[in-house]
Symmetry: C2
């Protein structure tokens, strides 16, 4: 065993907050086509080969060691002798192996906790997916990975060469220098959090300053969303341990066409799709509040005092306008709200951005320490992340990656998470929710499909010249939209 490593405050929060009701792992679901010449033993052999890959890059060899009498704080220990039959698993779907059966299995796997006596990851190879496909469900603890880092991990263990047979296992793939570089934002965030740990008192002061800096810029008609302005909804109570999962997939060209027509960002379209889906879902549950729902959205920002090349990972809050029936006005409200939030954040110094980010991206233990919990309103109603992924088609040992879906963690106060990945011309949504708090979560995915259609009708038909494009979009959609039936089970 190599030297022990102390956890930073972010890692500490994510590991110590882990519980039976609130497992804090995140996952990616990958859908592959089997190579044309794959025999019945292909996946069995793949699993055997993967189990033989026993070189581990960070953080696949990090094992969490609980506090003890001798050492009252937890540490990471390096483990080079992993039980590969535990970490690499071979599963199957029952007949007929459709999206429904896959969604049910993923929801169940995502409800199971990682074993804290081992490095905090599992890699599941799932056979029996219809149309000659298989799936991989890769799960890692949130203390070790976030959405962006997760997608990059995936990417570096795949190849753009359809014939490459020696693509490394995910846990053995070397980390290229430029990826280390691009993780700086996260390292900085961690430093910020570590700073906080040193002095909660100074952190309180910082948070007050940040809040005042934000507040100073606004007036009553300002579309800027303040923290804790969110209404209480069924999505914002305490969660339990079981999960639901549903997916939606779009051709990226549809999203881009719409953003062009509406004069907004791709992110705004993602928010408008989510808003339309949530509005319909909550109305059906007789649970749509009169006030608009708000979303917390991780974004890349460049600070006003930033001379360097890197951008900072930060966080904005947006008005989802779920109280607005008209889809046109709904998207316009969202657009104004995100534009205002980015303007505000760009006016902050890097230190201010980092403190703001640390404050609102950190799990609620930090918020508790800062006396922010226990307010009557949620900080915001739902996290919506849009994680840019690889643009080229990827292959893993001759199996073509068809789609890639995020499966996220939910926490007390936020029983639903919406994350999307872009990959090779498609945009995929993963809806992850608490089984008990979000009944019929599957419908949110279905309504997300309808929400894009509604936006297309509004913004593409409105512009006469775009009529043709709208027809093209409909054609593309017919072949491209796929909705899983996960949440009904």
């Amino acid at each position: 065993m190599a030297a022990l490593e102390t956890l930073d405050l972010s890692e500490l929060s994510w590991t110590m907050m882990e519980s039976q009701e609130r497992p804090l792992h995140v996952a990616t679901l990958l859908i592959y086509s089997l190579p044309d010449d794959a025999g019945p033993e292909f996946l069995k052999q793949l699993v055997a080969d993967l189990r033989d890959s026993t070189e581990f890059v960070e953080p696949f060899n990090k094992r969490f060691v609980r506090p003890s009498v001798m050492r009252p704080y937890p540490v990471w220990e390096r483990d080079y002798d992993l039980d590969m039959e535990y970490h690499v698993r071979h599963l199957a779907l029952p007949h007929p192996g459709g999206e429904r059966e896959l969604g049910v299995l993923i929801a169940r796997l995502h409800s199971n906790r990682l074993d804290f006596n081992r490095p905090l990851w599992e890699y599941h190879v799932i056979e029996g997916l219809e149309n000659n496909r298989f799936a991989v469900y890769f799960k890692m603890h949130h203390s070790l990975v976030d959405g962006i880092a997760g997608v990059r991990m995936m990417q570096r263990s795949m190849s753009t060469d359809p014939e490459a047979v020696n693509t490394p296992a995910l846990w053995s793939a070397p980390v290229p220098e430029e990826l280390l570089e691009s993780n700086k934002g996260i390292s900085r965030l961690r430093r910020g959090l570590t700073g906080m740990q040193k002095s909660i008192r100074s952190a309180r002061q910082v948070s007050r300053q940040v809040m005042e800096a934000i507040r100073a810029g606004g007036d009553d008609r300002d579309p800027f969303v303040m923290p804790f302005q969110a209404p209480k909804t069924i999505l914002n109570g305490r969660i339990k341990g079981q999960r639901r999962f549903a997916t939606q997939q779009y051709a990226f060209s549809r999203i881009r066409r719409l953003s062009k027509a509406a004069g907004c960002t791709v992110n705004d379209v993602v928010l408008a799709i989510s808003s339309g889906a949530l509005r319909k879902f909550l109305r059906e549950q007789n649970a749509l509040p009169g006030q608009p729902l708000t979303a917390g959205i991780p974004v890349s920002l460049r600070a006003k005092d930033d001379q360097g090349a890197g951008s900072a990972v930060s966080f904005i809050m947006a008005n989802l306008a779920t109280n607005v029936a008209d889809p046109h006005r709904r998207l316009e409200t969202i657009k104004a709200s995100t534009a205002r939030a980015k303007l505000m954040m760009n006016g902050l110094s890097r230190d201010e951005i980092e403190n703001f980010t640390a404050l609102f991206m950190a799990p609620s233990s930090v918020q508790t320490a800062l006396n922010l919990e226990g307010r009557t309103s949620p900080i915001f109603n739902v996290t919506i992340s849009n994680v840019p992924g690889p643009t080229e088609t990827l292959y893993f040992r001759r199996a073509r990656l068809e789609a890639m879906y995020p499966v996220s963690a939910v926490i007390h106060g936020q029983a639903l998470n919406i994350t999307c990945y872009s990959y090779a011309g498609s945009l995929t949504f993963g809806f992850s929710g608490c089984r008990d708090s979000v009944p019929s979560l599957q419908r949110i995915a279905v309504y997300a499909g309808e929400a894009l259609e509604e936006l297309e009708r509004t913004f593409l038909q409105a512009e006469g010249a775009e009529g043709e494009e709208f027809e093209a979009a409909k054609t593309a959609r017919a072949g491209k939209t796929r909705t899983s039936k996960a949440a009904n089970e």
Copy 2:
């Protein structure tokens, strides 16, 4: 919701001791043949039908409610609105769907905890088992069921009629009067434990009396095994959360023939098989202690002062003679040890039996309260249970029950559990163990197969007249012994 029900001390111990490292559920693995005319939708339809069975007999509707500020003790609440998609699950085995794949899946399912927010059971229908078979893994919390009650539950939801199509779901099957009657032993045990709760002081006194009553009958050469005489082994440390599972199956006629030839009970043969397997396994691990391992064995007893019809479920400890190389002398030692233990127990009054039982069958929280934990030696090394099951072939909605295996719980200090069921001419062993404490658990199952062969060579060939029977046994064995490959994964 109906009235709340307070937990008795046994239920309280089993529920409160539940943890991530030590899930306290027990399960049964059932192997069925598909009806000859079953189409590809047979299991999907079966699962759908089972999910529609929403009548619940005790204890399938009991939900555990945690202590709160308002009510500082846990209670059972009745739940009549179960989430059947959670409780009844449809799974599949990867290709080729052999015993190995099944064992791996069962070990994983058994590592997952039940959701304490719902009634504490799950029913898994597993398709893809080779030779036109499927499996059911039924899991329930140990606070609600023990081995004997579990087998009876199974039995009443099946039929001896191969054509019966309306056999009730396990959770809807009415409980016949005679089964309620035969559970008296357990109720008495529970009363005994409740009595203890009322006065730990009096319980201490009782335990001292029982120990003295036992001690009084013995001398140095006495084969009676005292509690805490067990050597420390790799099976007796603290456990972790992941499990291994392996099985072994014999024709019951082989066991009976051997017991007749050796002049011992069927139970003694079960112990001798376990002993032979453990001896070989521990030697191979360089972990066989010089002192013999001891086993704790649930038995049915009739007390000396018992005038009534019922027998009491109690508990004896036996010398497994794992330090004896000669299989003949090994079985003789076991036989003397169990005979002596039963003689001793039969000399106790019903009250004494019940207190002794309560003391050693209860989970260790009770033992802690009685200051029995923390001694340097384990109470005993391994639990070995032999649960008599149905003798006739059973069917569930036209699917023939081929075999039935117990999947048990393990606890700190006892990382291995050996339980067997008898059913329709066969005797099946389930070996359940902690994944980290018992490496290569599968070998114990393989060695259990070899152990019976060794005993047959010793006792059947020794008697000239039995030579022919031995040959018959070998023939029966060839077709009947089936070993799962579970533990290697």
